[in-house]
Symmetry: C2
Subunit: 316 residues, 2 copies
């Protein structure tokens, strides 16, 4: 019996696949070699999940892997019409990023409520200036995105006493439908975007929606940069339509050094790291190895993406 | 029947005492006039709770107020041997600061775990530099101070999944005695000081105790500056005995512009504001008015300080 072939889209450091020794033939490809290697692979591990190479290489001739795994929550960089239409199973890294991202969002909310950026700036100037800060308990948040990350964010905010609504594509028990979003925005202190990037969510946070928010509201994006019309957000923060924002994701990453987003007063810019707690790469590698063993045994895979919707649905 | 006299140690803005109109004779004194006014006062409201004037003015001749209220949690600035020995009842502002301070500490813990100060510094330099951050859930905290503030801090940290031990003067159910502190320090990721300042706690965080902590540990002080030997803390942070610290309180406040504490890398300095959420002064004034009405009716006062111990005991 011949060994299955696992093709890895290369990123440094490589995944730890030692547990699979002798059970799989591993081939590494960089972006340029991906198209040529695809026809001979049974499984594709998109270890460089920041790459758009799969979407570029997939269309074309030849056999295709039956299973594609991305060690990320979002699958937007992967899906092209040919992959969506194919029989190939796509899986994601559900389970790894939820709690870290929830903590990161809670940290941003508390830091903004307590004006930690202002404190650090005054400290640099050796200035003692007492300010009044905001309570977090009793404030209101709207979390957009009803997947596991959005739900984890809501759960952590609620643990801090924040009255938190979760918005998903359609209304379900304890989840508001997107048709209720505009009304919720008008009374939120915190608006957190943790939605998947799909054709229906792209650019959903635009001037109109920022205009609905309270002047005291603050916006946090840990989803994907393209969920936000960045120029509109800059206007909203710079002109004080809203009180502040924190972005961990951007339409272009790394954010170019000459981007105007770097120095909007009241806007916190971080380098797409909200989910990346120490050891995260090892956890992603171990998760893939666990899933590979299920695949090898012919058992059903977890975290299967609904390719038409563009995310892994939560079954309530 | 003559009206009782309420003496207010003046601070701006003044307390809102309108509800007591016609029921009390209010006199305002600044620090220099306090000693002369004390003999004719029935009640003293130490509205300027940052002042040491009561301790200076109290000893001396004449009648003294039967009740002294300070709109703060700590009573260390107030107590002198003559006041401790007297029949005068001392009360504090228990109930106002607990939740705000707990949120503030949680914000500092999360900000340090997620390296928000590093993010803001890199943002100023327009540098995209991904880092791995620390998880908070599952980490260990020691909260020193088993009063309502320490307990609120512990409760909020536990809500974030932090395994939190509380240390008080003596061991009780769910509270560790101070004799267990050293051992707890050796395995804590977060050490939070929320203790009252008394003769037995002054300087309790010194080189020896910072030396017991892990190199990855971080220290937060929201109690009183004098609980910490500030030079020892500076050494501990500057020489990386510990990974970082955040101080909201200082031996001298405002912290002088030439203090070396302002620019120790890894040390966050904030201007004694952890408990001061918008509207805090009004809440402190309203609390005093409520207590005044109890006093007027001859009913027992809440928040009575054990003057020998130097704080309001919690009855478990």
């Amino acid at each position: 019996m011949s060994l299955p072939t696992l093709l890895v889209l290369r990123a440094d450091p490589p995944p730890r696949l030692g547990r699979l020794t002798g059970r799989v033939r591993v081939r590494y490809a960089d972006e340029s070699a991906l198209a040529a290697e695809l026809p001979s692979a049974d499984v594709l591990l998109v270890w460089d999940f920041t790459s758009d190479a799969v979407r570029a290489a997939w269309p074309g001739e030849g056999r295709r892997p039956g299973w594609v795994h991305t060690p990320s929550a979002g699958v937007d960089r992967l899906l092209c019409p040919e992959l969506v239409a194919s029989d190939t199973v796509v899986t994601n890294a559900r389970g790894v990023f939820e709690e870290p991202i929830a903590e990161y969002v809670a940290g941003l909310v508390l830091a903004m409520a307590k004006d930690l950026p202002g404190t650090l700036e005054l400290q640099r100037e050796r200035r003692w200036r007492h300010r009044e800060v905001l309570p977090v308990a009793g404030s209101r948040a709207v979390v957009v995105g009803a997947g596991p990350i959005g739900r984890a964010v809501a759960s952590t905010l609620r643990a801090l006493g924040v009255r938190t609504a979760v918005v998903g594509r359609t209304a379900r028990p304890r989840i508001h439908g997107v048709d209720e979003l505009d009304l919720l925005l008008t009374r939120a202190d915190w608006v957190v975007c943790a939605a998947p990037l799909t054709e229906s969510t792209r650019g959903m946070f635009d001037a109109r929606r920022f205009g609905l928010m309270q002047p005291s509201a603050r916006f946090v994006n840990v989803g994907r940069g393209q969920l936000v019309v960045e120029d509109d957000l800059m206007t909203a923060v710079a002109k004080r339509w809203i009180a502040g924002a924190a972005l961990d994701v951007f339409a272009e990453e790394p954010l170019p050094p000459d981007s105007a987003l770097w120095d909007v007063p009241g806007l916190i810019v971080s380098p797409h790291m909200s989910g990346d707690t120490v050891g995260w790469r090892d956890r992603l590698g171990a998760q893939f190895v666990d899933m590979f063993e299920l695949w090898e045994a012919g058992r059903p895979l977890p975290n299967v993406v609904d390719k038409k919707r563009g995310y892994v649905p939560v079954h309530d």
